[in-house]
């Protein structure tokens, strides 16, 4: 019996080639989308789960807000050891130290000298808590000694040209202060998977830090670039530890602390965490949901094609059904037959889908910035999931036709007498087409909105000139000769200005405590250390007071600038009210008293999802600064960069010139949104494609069914245009209905998405009209292939068989 069904399925496929193609192609593309998204979702969900003890690892986070919602992923250096000592529930604590804001550091071995970004100091027990896979060396002792370092496979190849550099040394300048030290290689790790939120190529022993005593002592409880992970003992409740954190903090820093501490599960970091100073931009659970929904919808659109074409084709099929009933088929057997047929089709589509997936996986990886691959061998859960998907698709797509067709009464189907079911089927068919196009229009609207929001972000005035600014890491050789270097470099007329700062926009978020005259409580605010040229170089405007002035000697120590957001926070009536107030910064266990001399216009230093934070700018000595920013003239950029590079090497021979455009860094802040945009774009395109494929089939079917009518009309004098109009009218109506449904849904969804942005576009009506228009145009074009063909046909041909 089964064999019979398969044979029949195959013959059917061959007999109705167009329909088969539409069905299989649609299902294959739908499945491809679905599987790709499934792969993406699974990848997002496996972040950090490869650590054996993942369920027991928590990240210490910090909140500077009164509502105690965690705000910062970075903590301080004394907290970890104190936690380990105070809490019996804690099995181990590991700290990672990111140097500065993750600026690159120079590593050297013989002539191999490179800037490297992925570098941390880590506590010696890091490999007891985390399960980063070792290739060589002993995880227990690798980071026990000062000046030991563990590197990845890739670095081993890069610096040593082989995979066993144990015992060899690599030289680095971790503080970027010109002081190189030799680190002994004590371990080689497998390259880290992309699904680790902590990514590094070098991990140096914590004891190697020359300022460890200060960092754990005087600066032990400030906001530093320490990332603290806590391994709890088995069966310990996080809540109980969490509950004791306020008391813990009070014990160590006293009542006057400006932040609170929190524990965040390691496995939630990737999809549920959006803090300042995250080690990398995280994913977003909302996007996982959105993408999953899109996957389901695309597959559904393909299934609908199948249903629609099957019911449209039912004229042919019901005859067969009738005959089968006459020779003894009961309904269940017919349902089975049709289901087997659709499952066969979807299995076939699955095979094609895998060809498509192999072809498009690099594209997906490119869009989402991952290295997802499919392990086929011995991956039974995967195989089972895929077969399950095909089965489900087959059943969803096939069930309606199966029940619809098998229900027809044999005599009606044989004699061709119409029954009520057909009308219902036609109504349902229309409903399903409306649904398909509604989804497509929603996706098009989303694509448009995301696109324009991204454009807006790219071009919005940040409060400074971002597209002409390049940033390079500052090093000690430059620091020592900064004045001379500045004078020499600015000789080039295409180098308009330069400034040294501790952080740079898009990489800022470090804070400090501030006591301000007129405000009761000490404030934890974002700090910005710079030299006197910062505002000039970035082109930031002044709202009140004045900029730093090199001629005023007190500016180097006691002058502070605040931004407009600060004034709003302080609830002062005007920026002018801020001028002259006393302000004291406590940073690194030291107090820096001074006066507010100016208020700067607000400028964005972080993503557009955030409003501009209150910010305090002051001048700090060169050794506190990490970056150098240049403003370039818009012309001759290549030449200017070449000039900079060669001039740089005169002042800093040990440090290669390494720079990036500030603009690119800002773009990176919105990477996830950019991805969303591209995913929408791709899937909107596919959704419309699949929906149109179905429409093409339906149009063919309608044209065929109405051949005789068209013939008669033409004999009576209808023109080609009349006929095309007549045939297209129904489809146009469907697409218009689809728009009516899609607009409010899309408006609601996109409005919610935009709410996350502090700075956002307004969705204009034209977005909807445009998207609907595009969908309509595409639909009409699709249908026109069939209608024009039908309209051009010789009427005599179609009437001859009367």
């Amino acid at each position: 019996m089964l064999k019979n069904y398969f044979k029949l399925t195959l013959r059917h496929l061959l007999k109705y080639r167009t329909y088969s193609f539409i069905n299989i192609a649609g299902l294959a593309v739908g499945m491809t989308c679905c599987i790709l998204i499934l792969l993406y979702v699974r990848d997002e969900q496996r972040y950090d789960r490869f650590h054996e003890r993942a369920e027991r690892i928590f990240r210490l986070t910090l909140s500077t807000e009164n509502d105690e919602q965690p705000t910062n992923a970075n903590t301080s250096f004394a907290q970890g050891p104190a936690l380990a000592a105070d809490f019996p529930e804690v099995e181990a604590v590991v700290r990672f130290r990111k140097m500065g804001w993750g600026e690159k550091r120079v590593f050297a071995h013989d002539d191999n000298r490179f800037y490297e970004e992925r570098f941390f100091f880590a506590d010696k027990n890091v490999f007891e808590v985390f399960s980063f896979p070792f290739l060589r060396g002993n995880p227990q002792t690798a980071l026990a000694e000062p000046f030991s370092i563990v590197i990845t496979e890739a670095m081993s190849q890069k610096y040593f040209g082989h995979d066993n550099p144990l015992g060899e040394t690599i030289s680095l300048d971790p503080y970027n202060d010109g002081e190189f030290s030799d680190y002994k290689i004590t371990g080689v790790l497998k390259n880290l998977p992309h699904y680790s939120h902590i990514k590094f190529d070098f991990l140096a022993s914590f004891a190697s830090q020359k300022d460890l005593a200060v960092m754990e002592g005087r600066r032990g409880w400030g906001l530093e670039s320490a990332f603290t992970y806590v391994l709890l003992k088995p069966d310990v409740s996080v809540a109980s530890v969490q509950a004791n954190l306020p008391a813990f903090l009070e014990r160590h820093v006293g009542k006057e602390h400006w932040y609170s501490l929190h524990l965040q599960p390691l496995t939630e970091i990737r999809l549920h965490s959006k803090l300042r100073a995250e080690l990398e931009p995280n994913g977003d659970i909302a996007y996982v949901y959105i993408f999953s929904a899109i996957a389901v919808f695309i597959l559904l659109i393909a299934c609908i094609n199948f249903m629609n074409l099957a019911t449209a084709q039912s004229a042919q099929r019901t005859k067969e059904v009738g005959m089968r009933k006459v020779v003894g088929a009961v309904r269940a057997e017919l349902v089975k037959q049709f289901l087997i047929e659709s499952i066969c089709l979807s299995l076939f589509a699955l095979i094609i889908a895998f060809i498509l997936i192999e072809a498009s996986l690099p594209l997906l990886n490119n869009i989402v910035g991952k290295q997802i691959e499919i392990a086929y061998a011995n991956n039974w859960p995967f195989v089972a999931t895929m077969l399950g998907l095909a089965l489900l698709t087959g059943v969803v797509a096939g069930s309606y036709p199966a029940f619809f067709l098998s229900a027809s009464r044999p005599i009606e189907s044989l004699t061709g007498k119409t029954s009520g079911g057909k009308k219902a089927a036609a109504v349902l068919r229309k409903g399903l087409v409306i649904f398909q196009f509604a989804i497509s229009v929603i996706l098009v609207v989303c694509t448009t909105v995301v696109y324009y929001q991204m454009q807006y972000i790219r071009h919005k005035n940040l409060g400074f000139e971002r597209d002409t600014i390049i940033v390079a890491p500052l090093n000690d050789q430059i620091r020592h000769s900064y004045r001379a270097a500045k004078q020499a470099l600015l000789q080039n007329s295409n180098l308009l200005a330069m400034t040294a700062t501790e952080q740079v926009p898009a990489k800022a978020g470090n804070g400090a405590g501030y006591t301000v005259e007129g405000l009761d409580e000490p404030q934890g605010l974002t700090r910005f250390f710079a030299d006197q040229d910062f505002l000039k170089t970035y082109g930031i405007g002044i709202a009140a007071g004045r900029d730093f002035d090199e001629k005023i000697s007190t500016d180097a120590a006691g002058a502070f600038l605040v931004n407009e957001a600060f004034v709003r926070m302080a609830e002062w009536k005007s920026p002018a009210e801020a001028i002259g107030r006393n302000i004291t910064m406590s940073h690194g266990g030291q107090a820096y008293p001074g006066k507010i001399v100016g208020v700067v216009k607000d400028f964005n230093i972080s993503s557009f999802r955030e409003t501009v934070w209150p910010l305090v700018i002051n001048v700090m000595p060169m050794d506190k600064l990490n970056f150098i920013s240049f403003r370039l003239a818009r012309q001759n950029v290549t030449e200017t960069l070449e000039y900079l590079s060669s001039a740089w090497s005169k002042f800093a021979p040990s440090y290669p010139f390494d720079y990036y455009f500030l603009d690119d860094d800002f773009a990176r802040l919105h990477q996830a949104d950019q991805q969303l945009g591209r995913v929408f774009q791709t899937f909107a395109f596919l959704a419309i494609g699949i929906a149109c494929l179905g429409l093409f089939g339906l149009a063919a079917f309608t044209a065929e069914r109405r051949t005789k009518e068209i013939g008669v009309r033409k004999v009576l004098g209808a023109t080609v245009t009349n006929v095309v109009g007549l045939l297209s009218k129904d489809f146009v109506k469907l697409v218009l209905w689809a728009n009516l449904i899609a607009w409010p849904v899309a408006w609601y969804a996109m409005n919610r998405w935009l709410q996350d942005f502090a700075y956002r576009i307004n969705i204009g009506l034209w977005t909807f009209v445009l998207s609907g228009g595009i969908a309509l145009l595409i639909a009409l074009t699709t249908v026109s292939f069939q209608t024009i063909k039908a309209a051009l046909a010789n009427p005599v041909e179609s009437l001859r068989y009367e």
């Binding site: 013959r11 020779v327 003894g328 088929a329």
Partner: protein, 225 residues
């Protein structure tokens, strides 16, 4: 074998009921060869479909052997139908996508006949109808006469107690028609009950009894010798 008591069949079109069959009372014994005749539209096919359980009457009783068909549900009716009845149509109604062999196989599949047995039954019937050479052809590659042969073979293959034939020779030339009628005669001699609808007086002579329908009623019911 078949007992119809005051059977009615009508189609309602908006507010008007059109009666196709009115108060049909008919008894047919096992082993009879009955011909139903009557003008076009008199309800012959409808009656045949009802007897074949492909259609339901609106009113009246239908007993098949001792089963009250009018009280059975769809599933029970399909069971009865598939075990006892073979149907032959004027327009053959073979499944286009299946070869002759597969068309013959289909009813056996639905009866869940085992593979080996099935093969021998098909081989047997192909032989009996002398269409062995055509077994791998598709219906549209056959002449009308051959298609009808296959149609009858498909009805006969399950050894039905009752064969219903609706103008089986209507689309055939006279030589082909005669061949088919001889086949029915042989089947009848072997003990199968046959009910045929025909317009041809000559074909009617093959049977033992003629039921004349007129406007949905039994007009005359005569035995032929």
């Amino acid at each position: 074998m078949i007992q119809l008591k005051s059977l009615f069949k009508y189609y309602s079109n908006k507010f008007v009921k059109t009666y196709v069959l009115q108060d049909i009372n008919l008894q047919i014994q096992q082993g009879e060869f009955v011909t139903i005749m009557g003008p076009s539209g008199s309800g012959k096919s409808t009656l045949l479909h009802i007897i074949g359980m492909l259609d339901e009457p609106n009113d009246g009783e239908y007993h098949f052997f001792d089963q009250p068909v009018h009280k059975l549900n769809e599933k029970q009716r399909s069971e009865l139908h598939k075990n006892y009845i073979g149907f032959v149509f004027q327009s053959y109604h073979l499944i286009d996508e299946l070869t002759v062999y597969e068309n013959l196989e289909t009813p056996l599949l639905y009866q869940k006949v085992k593979t080996t047995e099935r093969k021998s039954m098909i081989a047997d019937i192909l032989d009996r109808f002398q269409i062995v050479a055509k077994k791998d052809l598709f219906p549209n590659q056959l002449s009308g006469g051959h298609q009808q042969l296959v149609g009858i073979a498909r009805a006969v293959i399950v050894n039905p107690k009752l064969i219903l034939a609706d103008e089986p020779t209507g689309n055939l030339n006279s030589a082909q028609g005669e061949e088919i009628m001889n086949l029915f005669k042989k089947l009848h001699q072997e003990g199968t009950t046959i009910i045929q609808v025909t317009h041809s007086e000559k074909n009617a002579t093959y049977g033992s009894r003629i039921v004349h329908l007129l406007d949905g009623r039994v007009d005359r019911d005569v035995q032929v010798s």
